[in-house]
Symmetry: C2
Subunit: 291 residues, 2 copies
DNA sequence: GCACATCGCTGACTAAGGTCAGAGATCGTG
DNA sequence: CACGATCTCTGACCTTAGTCAGCGATGTGC
């Protein structure tokens, strides 16, 4: 298996050198942990719980770091107005200054690192790293089952509907679909998943029951700037797997003629054109696949 | 300066995920330090001093780690036969087994990471990472002034002479040049530098005095598999800088007609053809540049 | 053969980074 | 309003990773 040799070679070469970027946290008179944490807070107000989950840190450890940042006047921790158990954190002006300092340190280190390269080489490096980042993020994108009424699901669906509205010749009217979806795209007979990378939502999709043997795939959407990274294929495979887990032997879906990329993907993935099976006014093509 | 935005974005995306590759050292029932050290020893016999320098570790810390590896029967530490103060270390069969285990762990982690990608995407990732690795290593290559009689210098010159022998139509006879170079390419009137990346030597080059106003550039060589990464240009600039530091206002050099890449680089770098200035039997072109 | 440098080892020490259990406050549900 | 669940915080504790000074053995230059 030489598949991953390049990855491993790169990793060894990289961590030794660019690990230096993390050293930008050093020499700030503050240990690495709190520095990194401060940097992660950045300019937003975060729920402490979410931040902790994202960084995978222990509750006690985070609490102590917050006390330290507070005592240095860099951050303020307040109760979450919606949930008195949770707390939120944001940087004070002094904290933001410190954040900028760290940011500039990292910037300078990065610049010093590429300084010996020619302009053309720097462009080449930019391109290579952007490509690698995209692929690595695509590879590590998570498919999370969520409630269709959750904030993430709602956001993704809104993006999806907005795009439909732009692309369909007569626009798209989402009236009523939230409620329908909320009921249909849930366990035990349905599901809704969002694609997540870092704290970004990259896409969504759902399945719902048609009859005991059949599920319908709905609301499949990938963010425009993430298309072509293979996420659509993997999402479709994922939803088919979910349908199988629901005991179905067949999936169906409908689509509008303007969604050409989607239509060609369905073809590649083994979907066959079938007769109209519903009265969706926006649908112009109907597909099915045996699982 | 958006120059380094891609680098920084990549770094954030990468370290969070591929940092996982370093976690392959974890769960071995041994702390990270000794594991990493064991892996670094690998299949060779190393001088403890060299290993320590390479990894930048404290003498006491290393000593303790060696005692631990010894007590677990993974490594043997012996006196260096050439220097009773120094010690050497190598892995026992059990140590090599442990090394293979770590290697396989990292391999599996890397494979799992890229598993969701299609074959085409994996190829794309390989290419992007190989490009990035090459550029990053090129950018961080060190130019170290060394004695021309040192082992590294000797190795690089041997490579260089072997290549000349292959490329010159009548071959190349290095008899006597080692002694001449040993005298000429040294402080205070000369210099010899080797290009290093990790523990590899990627190239070499030297300058020697011609007269108080003039230095000659000699033995410029870049490893064949590292050409095109801009190292030649940087080496030439480096040697010109050294000549300036020696108070020279002009550099000269000679070359053989078969070294076409070198000749075109001299042209790009502002060198002008001049008359024969020496009786080097292999030289067919002579160049000069005012500093 | 002497002075001095170098190398490895040991003991003593430290900071960083983190884990764990339990207490107290608050929320959601019936 | 009672009950269990959830979140934060604190105190106690631990390992890891590393530093530093000094000692003894060995090498190098004169």
């Amino acid at each position: 298996m030489d598949d991953v040799a390049a990855l491993r070679r790169f990793n060894r070469a990289y961590t030794q050198r660019i690990g230096v970027l993390d050293d930008s946290y050093l020499g700030t008179g503050r240990p690495l942990g709190p520095s990194r944490f401060l940097f992660e807070i950045g300019t937003q107000t975060w729920g402490v719980l979410g931040l902790r989950r994202r960084l995978g840190l222990d509750s006690g450890y985070v609490s102590r770091m917050l006390r330290q940042l507070e005592s240095e006047g860099l951050a303020v921790v307040e109760a979450d107005p919606n949930d008195g158990r949770q707390r939120t954190v944001r940087l004070t002006p002094a904290g933001r200054r410190e954040w900028r300092r760290l940011d500039q340190r990292a910037e300078r280190l990065a610049q010093r690192l590429v300084a010996p390269l020619s302009d053309r080489q720097r462009d080449e490096l930019d391109t290579a790293l952007a490509t690698a980042e995209r692929l690595i993020r695509a590879a590590t994108t998570q498919f999370d089952a969520v409630d269709p009424r959750s904030a993430d699901a709602r956001w993704a669906m809104d993006q999806y509907f907005a795009e439909l509205d732009r692309r369909f010749s007569d626009g798209f009217d989402p009236t009523g679909v939230y409620d329908t979806d909320a009921a249909a795209l849930r366990a035990p007979t349905g599901a809704f998943v969002v694609l997540r990378s870092d704290h970004e939502t990259l896409g969504c999709g759902g399945v719902q029951r048609v009859d005991d043997a059949t599920s319908e795939i709905k609301r499949m959407w990938i963010r425009a700037d993430w298309r072509g990274a293979g996420l659509g294929r993997r999402l479709l495979e994922h939803l088919e797997r979910v349908a199988r887990e629901h005991g179905r032997s067949r999936v169906v879906l409908d689509t509008n003629g303007s969604l050409t990329e989607a239509i060609s993907m369905y073809g590649r993935m083994g979907y066959q054109t079938i007769e109209r099976y519903n009265d969706n006014p926006y649908a112009q093509h109907w597909f099915a696949k045996d699982l």
